[in-house]
């Protein structure tokens, strides 16, 4: 299933390319190797060659950088190692600040230049660490679910209904509309709480007639999402097992809260309700309504259900 995540939701690997931690690691290797291999020339270059401890400090910095590189290149806890680099930068800047105070002339100029360079590296490191952390949290937010229902119709009938994506709002309660732009691409509009809408474009990326359909939102969507539905013949001539896998990554912040409300506290229950409606539409022709649940199935609505008596005329 983890494979499906990355196959279906490549957006999750942005906004940070997966190579960012490695790039930082290589930077560490270069700096560390330089400091270890040629402490003398580096001390001169940075204007620190007059200090008796410069060589020792540079060797220490080199060891630190190499250790950091190993951590970053290992691929484990990339955010943690990125912040370790930032900590190293702060240490370097502190040392350089003290060195700057008691030097003059050409040496002072070199120390200042070095400080400037390290400050630039620090900025890059901070930015990278922040972005790596964001990406990791986005991946952790991805909501995955698998729900299935048995429908007393053939796989071909169930597939045909689902493949016409404009049918989806008939049973997916949170959808306002789906417009098919062509055979693959479509535009989806979901209605959220307090009149807020969420829209996105999606494409069918794999289509196996009468067997399965796989779709995902196009890159750039604020709520990356993807899904796959499989139509498996149910044993004993009982129709079709409709098996759905869904993934979506709600963003952080206000929009994320809207999306969370859209799907409620039990997103899986809502998908289960959707599939129950899908079964009703295929088997009975439409969503079944009662006076207490005039909009049909919705576990979310149960608490606010109206009494089981006919709806007033103006409600129609």
């Amino acid at each position: 299933m983890a494979r499906v995540d990355t196959v279906l939701l490549p957006e999750l690997d942005g906004p940070v390319p997966a190579t960012l931690p490695s790039a930082l690691g290589l930077l560490s290797v270069a700096l560390g190797a330089g400091a270890l291999a040629a402490p003398g020339p580096i001390a001169r270059l940075t204007g620190l060659d007059d200090s008796p401890v410069a060589r020792a400090v540079l060797l220490g910095v080199g060891v630190r950088e190499v250790a950091n590189a190993v951590g970053l290149l290992s691929g484990r806890r990339p955010a943690g190692w990125a912040w370790t680099r930032v900590a190293g930068d702060v240490m370097d800047l502190t040392l350089l600040g003290r060195a700057l105070a008691d030097r003059g002339g050409e040496r002072r100029r070199r120390v200042a230049l070095t400080t400037l360079a390290i400050a630039g590296v620090t900025a890059v490191d901070v930015l990278s660490a922040v972005r790596i952390g964001q990406a990791r949290r986005a991946r952790a937010r991805v909501i995955r679910m698998q729900v299935a229902v048995t429908v007393n119709r053939s796989p071909a009938e169930a597939y045909r209904f689902w493949r016409d994506v404009e049918n989806l709002p008939r049973f997916m309660a949170h959808l306002e509309s789906v417009r098919a732009d062509d055979l693959r691409r479509s535009h989806w509009v979901a209605h959220g709480p307090v009149g807020r809408r969420v829209e996105w474009d999606a494409e069918i990326i794999d289509d196996q007639p009468n067997t399965s359909i796989t779709w995902r939102s196009l890159p750039g969507t604020r709520v990356p999402n993807a899904g796959r539905v499989r139509f498996v013949p149910a044993p004993g001539d009982r129709g079709t097992e409709v098996r759905v896998e869904l993934r979506y990554a709600p963003p952080a912040g206000a929009l994320g809260r809207v999306v969370a409300k859209l799907f409620g506290e039990e997103p899986e229950q809502q998908v289960r309700d959707d599939l129950r409606r899908f079964k009703q539409v295929l088997e009975t022709g439409e969503v079944v309504r009662s006076e207490g649940s005039p909009n049909g199935i919705s576990v979310r609505q149960q608490v606010m259900q109206r009494p089981a008596q006919p709806l007033p005329a103006f409600r129609r």
Partner: protein
């Protein structure tokens, strides 16, 4: 229109509500001519069924005239006189197609809630809690009937309402209770409960060839009905020990099959036994008072069938699993799959094989529904079955 509404424990009221309208293409609207109060309505009345809301319209036994049909209903026409089965069944899911109408997979819009307590959801039922769909019931001037192309049965003019309305629930339910006993020649059938369903189960056992039928209750007027109309033997459990008496009557074998037509609000001859389950029920540590079920299992002949048609809602304590397992008993049960039985039972009525209306004790106006509930609850005035005419 006027309709009977549940207003809280032990409170029903006839109130004004909007007229029903077509909500689904397979709906019909029926102008109710006769409706009935069911023993299971008393479970709602007493507040034992969860998922009731103030203002819910009650009633799952009704018949009347079709006054409007949805665009997908082709088998009914305005003016048809129909009786409506109490389970709402789509006719197209696997369960309906196997004749298991009361476990229709599509008719409960609140299935998700029912699944949480029952594992899977049964069918929706008219006027029987939001757990079972939140459908308005038929103790009203008009009723909306979903899947009208599946459930309602046209009733010929010569069959009066008094007989036909019993096809909505109690007669098919009693009949299925007897049918599940798989009655063979010479068999003795015992029925717990001489309410409408128990009496019609006893009558059906006779129709299906039982040699002897024994009815167990505590109200002499009801036991008298069983004797006079069905030629049944009777046991008043407040006067005699049921197990001893049944053993005596069957020379130690026990009845070949036992029908529990009591359900979750049973009574017991022994005050201490009654108090035990009543207290547990009151504190919600048990939802049912399963005296009849326990006794039926202990009484039944080894290898026999226990057929449960009394309504249960939750969990029972002290289920005699040891007796049940060690003596090779079979437990059969279910809300009645009414749609299976309406036509054959109507034909039996038309052929004069049975007149189920012997159970009807009271006919009242819809406006008197609260009084009907009260006398049925208190077993006043020899009440067995209350019909409400609209």
């Amino acid at each position: 229109m006027r309709a009977t509404a549940w207003m809280g424990t032990d409170r029903v009221k006839v109130i004004d509500v909007p007229d029903p309208r077509i909500m689904n293409a397979r709906d019909a609207i029926v102008r109710v001519s006769t409706t009935a109060i069911c023993g299971s309505d008393l479970h709602l009345y007493h507040g034992y069924i969860p998922g009731m809301r103030k203002g819910d319209i009650l009633g799952h036994e009704f018949m009347g005239e079709v006054v409007e049909v949805g665009p997908q209903v082709r088998n009914l026409a305005v003016g048809d006189r129909v009786v409506v089965p109490f389970p709402i069944s789509c006719g197209h899911c696997s369960s309906c197609q196997r004749g298991l109408y009361s476990v229709c997979e599509n008719s409960n819009p609140n299935a998700g809630i029912a699944e949480k307590t029952m594992g899977h959801s049964p069918a929706g039922i008219f006027g029987y809690s939001h757990l079972l769909g939140g459908y308005a019931g038929g103790q009203a001037e008009y009723a909306r009937v979903p899947f009208a192309d599946v459930g309602p049965l046209k009733v010929p003019d010569e069959v009066p309402d008094d007989q036909a309305v019993l096809l909505a629930d109690v007669f098919p339910t009693g009949y299925m209770g007897a049918e599940m006993c798989d009655i063979k020649r010479g068999q003795v059938i015992a029925v717990w409960g001489a309410g409408p369903v128990g009496l019609l189960a006893a009558a059906s056992a006779r129709l299906l060839g039982a040699e002897r039928v024994i009815v167990i209750d505590r109200f002499p007027y009801r036991l008298r009905l069983a004797q006079e109309h069905l030629g049944a033997e009777t046991i008043n459990y407040e006067e005699a020990d049921v197990l001893d008496t049944l053993n005596e009557m069957t020379a130690g074998r026990g009845p070949d099959a036992c029908i529990d037509a009591v359900g979750l609000e049973g009574h017991h001859g022994n005050a201490a036994m009654y108090a035990y389950d009543r207290a547990k029920q009151a504190t919600r540590t048990e939802t049912e008072r399963p005296f009849a079920l326990r006794q039926a299992i202990l009484a039944c002949r080894s290898g026999g069938v226990v057929s449960v048609i009394g309504a249960y809602g939750g969990f029972v304590d002290k289920f005699p699993m040891g007796a049940f397992m060690n003596r090779s008993l079979t437990l059969r049960t279910g809300q009645c799959h009414v749609q299976r039985y309406t036509r054959p039972l109507l034909e039996r009525i038309q052929r004069g094989e049975i007149d189920p209306s012997f159970i009807v004790s009271h006919r009242m106006r819809l406006a008197d529904a609260p009084k009907g509930y009260k006398i049925f609850q208190k077993k006043q005035d020899d009440c067995t079955k209350v019909l409400l005419t609209v």
